[in-house]
């Protein structure tokens, strides 16, 4: 009986850890439907610099969501810049080229001049340095 107690506790601890480990990635992978809606509605769009921007004044919730994503993007750009021997800005800009190219018709993107444009069926207006 004395041997049972610690084993039970250990099992419970493992189960709890597993539950947390499973819960965290699924929560991260879950996209906020408000983000997709704001994107589709053209309230937010892809900027030239590789970050998300506001084409129209956002609600506090959308602002918080975008700011959180931009912080995560910056962290990802920083790690990639270090591994490729480039600057964060260079890597972010190159990502921006790709992210603007990936926008779907109806979504907003920033032109090299800084204006917000709605993506149509044609290719987007991108910086001359974009591949």
């Amino acid at each position: 009986m004395t041997k049972w107690k610690p084993t039970g506790l250990a099992l419970a601890a493992i189960a709890a850890t597993a539950a947390v480990a499973l819960a965290v990635p699924s929560a991260m992978a879950q996209r906020d439907p408000a983000y997709a809606a704001a994107r589709a509605a053209g309230q937010i769009g892809e900027q030239v610099d590789g970050y998300l921007g506001f084409a129209t004044t956002p609600t506090p919730a959308i602002r918080a969501l975008v700011e959180d994503l931009n912080i995560k993007r910056k962290a990802a750009y920083t790690a990639s810049a270090q591994s490729t021997g480039s600057t964060v800005q260079q890597f972010a800009f190159t990502s921006g080229c790709n992210l603007i190219a990936q926008t779907k018709p109806g979504e907003k993107y920033q032109t090299p001049g800084g204006a917000w444009k709605t993506r149509d069926s044609g290719p987007p207006e991108r910086d001359a340095r974009c591949p």
Partner: protein, 71 residues
């Protein structure tokens, strides 16, 4: 008694001289630095060259693909 008086006077003179020298050296050692009135501007566009963008393109595509939850 006379000897000590002269000694005291000499000490007083040298003390005054030292004070004067210290004052002069303090004046000479004063360096004035003026802060610029205009903000320092750095044009960041120069740092991004097309060849760098082309070199990083593959890695950027990979990053976006592997971290779709933030893009």
């Amino acid at each position: 008694m006379k000897k000590t008086k002269t000694g005291a006077r000499r000490l007083a003179i040298s003390g005054r001289c030292l004070a004067l020298m210290t004052g002069m050296s303090a004046l000479a050692g004063c360096v004035q630095i003026e802060t610029p009135d205009k903000p320092i501007e750095i044009n960041l566009n120069i740092n991004i060259r097309q060849e760098v963008v082309y070199r990083l393109d593959g890695d950027a595509k990979k990053l976006i693909e592997q971290n779709s939850e933030i893009f």
